[in-house]
Symmetry: C2
Subunit: 312 residues, 2 copies
């Protein structure tokens, strides 16, 4: 359940007066998400999602919210932030920064088919292209520096063999240069649960709160590692080929990207292996955690190490 | 038929490469509108409307297009302009300035019911509120100065009695002051054929190319004169009351507006009587005209003059 801050109709009615969205018809908590409070807000004009940010502060939201607006006005399927009469996207309710966005069509799909993987690949490439003109900048807090530092805090909790594998990977990733790779704005967390699918079409990319500036190829690797994965951590070649072909139909890889692709697939898996290890072994006290199996990304990574075909 | 500039699929495919909208599925001319060329463009991502501007130049479009984008990001039901990869809304195709917008749900309704008039009234008020923070400015080219000047060019074509009625009204409208009335951005042409209705709900306001800065009450009068009119130029009291109550539920009239309301209803009718007279008697040579009956707004105006109840 992800309603941490309760909102009543009596709270919302005066709040909605600051927006051009008509009057309240229905308010309903959304039982998804682990960080923020979300409600469906139905008004006489339509259906919206209201988010109350439980940890991010209003000025920290600026990069993400303006990015969502930028992508929306380029026609990318994202939840478009709605501005209030003061022309601000971020407002405040019950002491928390808030955001109202359009409600997107579609649902989360756990077992995507080949066409759906292709649609996600195409939209991801279009998102990378559309974000080229976005002026905001945020360094990726989850890059090599972060995983090197974070891995050091969990080695001691791990079985020796796994700790050795992790350490080897951290060293391997430190050895190659990303300097030649095209950079831009990346979603950085485009897992299946952050995409709404409307049939085979992308209804919307959501949850941009890990978005940052980094190499585009890192985003491709992170996305493929989730969308094209099998239950045992292997990659389904048919989905992977469809995903990559659709991505490259919009933005073909550069020669440097093709060279770096095998290493980057491993980097994408390492990043989530490390964050899951950390959440598992060092949960923040009092935090509601839904710790996910770190072993999954260990398996994804080890399979990438053995791989000879990379679907390009 | 309103395709003045032909666009082929071969023209459109490279054009679409400048947008994050997927690839072309279907292209279809739209037989509506008398000034610009419009096409439905269906891509792998969705359905859009492409407009080629036949008379307006790219820099003249700036006020209108940014206004549409401003209103869209406040949640007002308008066609949202889509930016290309250079972050421009206005692009160029076959030598004409172009705009791509989202395709809106709904259709034009000739005989609106009471609920539909109320929904339009509410959305109009919300549009006025949302536009308060719009920084652009454009004087109304169709105000008292314009109609005084334009009427003088058509008196000679008119039967003496009608010419006298028109002249009387021009003099009457010069006698009262609009200085106390709230001003802002107005649509200025929100007739039934510029609103798409989705059932009883507003799917979208369209055709913002008369929008300008003027008194808000002028917009209310122009809109009521069309939405609540009967075939003989009278106003249907039930629709008028619903329209005005819904408008005022969002933005109640000021005392000055209540005082000016009868005169403003006449001003709204005068403006279209004059433009239709001009189009009828002095059609631009070679222009495709669909001259509309000037007598309709003469009747609307004369009925307003006799009226004692103004539905407030």
């Amino acid at each position: 359940m992800s309603v941490f801050t309760t909102v009543t109709e009596a709270d919302l009615q005066p709040f909605l007066k600051r927006y051009a969205l008509g009057t309240l018809v229905e308010l309903k908590g959304i039982a998804a998400g682990v960080t923020n409070t979300n409600y469906f807000v139905t008004t006489t004009h339509g259906r919206y999602v209201l988010t109350l940010f439980e940890t991010l502060l209003a000025d920290e939201l600026d990069y993400y919210v303006k990015l969502m607006a930028h992508l929306a006005h380029h026609g990318i399927a994202v939840a478009a932030p709605i501005a209030n009469f003061d022309d601000d996207y971020v407002d405040e309710l019950n002491g928390k920064p808030t955001l109202l966005v359009n409600c997107l069509p579609g649902m989360v799909i756990e077992n995507p088919n080949v066409n759906q993987c292709a649609e996600v690949g195409e939209m991801l490439a279009q998102m990378h292209q559309a974000a080229r003109s976005y002026p905001g900048h945020m360094d990726n807090p989850r890059g090599p520096h972060w995983w090197t530092h974070t891995a050091a805090q969990v080695y001691g909790f791990m079985p020796p063999k796994a700790a050795q594998q992790l350490h080897d990977e951290v060293l391997y990733q430190a050895e190659w240069s990303r300097n030649e790779l095209p950079r831009g704005v990346i979603h950085a967390d485009l897992f299946r649960d952050n995409v709404l699918l409307n049939g085979d079409h992308v209804g919307g990319f959501i949850d941009f709160y890990y978005a940052c500036n980094d190499t585009l190829l890192y985003d491709v690797a992170i996305t493929l590692n989730d969308w094209c994965v099998t239950g045992d951590g292997d990659i389904d070649a048919e989905r992977a080929r469809a995903f990559l072909a659709a991505y490259q139909s919009v933005r073909p890889f550069t020669e440097a990207e093709k060279q770096s692709w095998p290493a980057m697939l491993r980097a994408g898996a390492l990043r989530f292996w490390v964050s899951r290890l950390y959440d598992f072994h060092k949960p923040a006290s009092g935090e509601m955690t839904f710790a996910k199996d770190p072993g999954h990304f260990q398996r994804v990574l080890l399979r990438h190490r053995e791989r000879t075909d990379f679907w390009l």
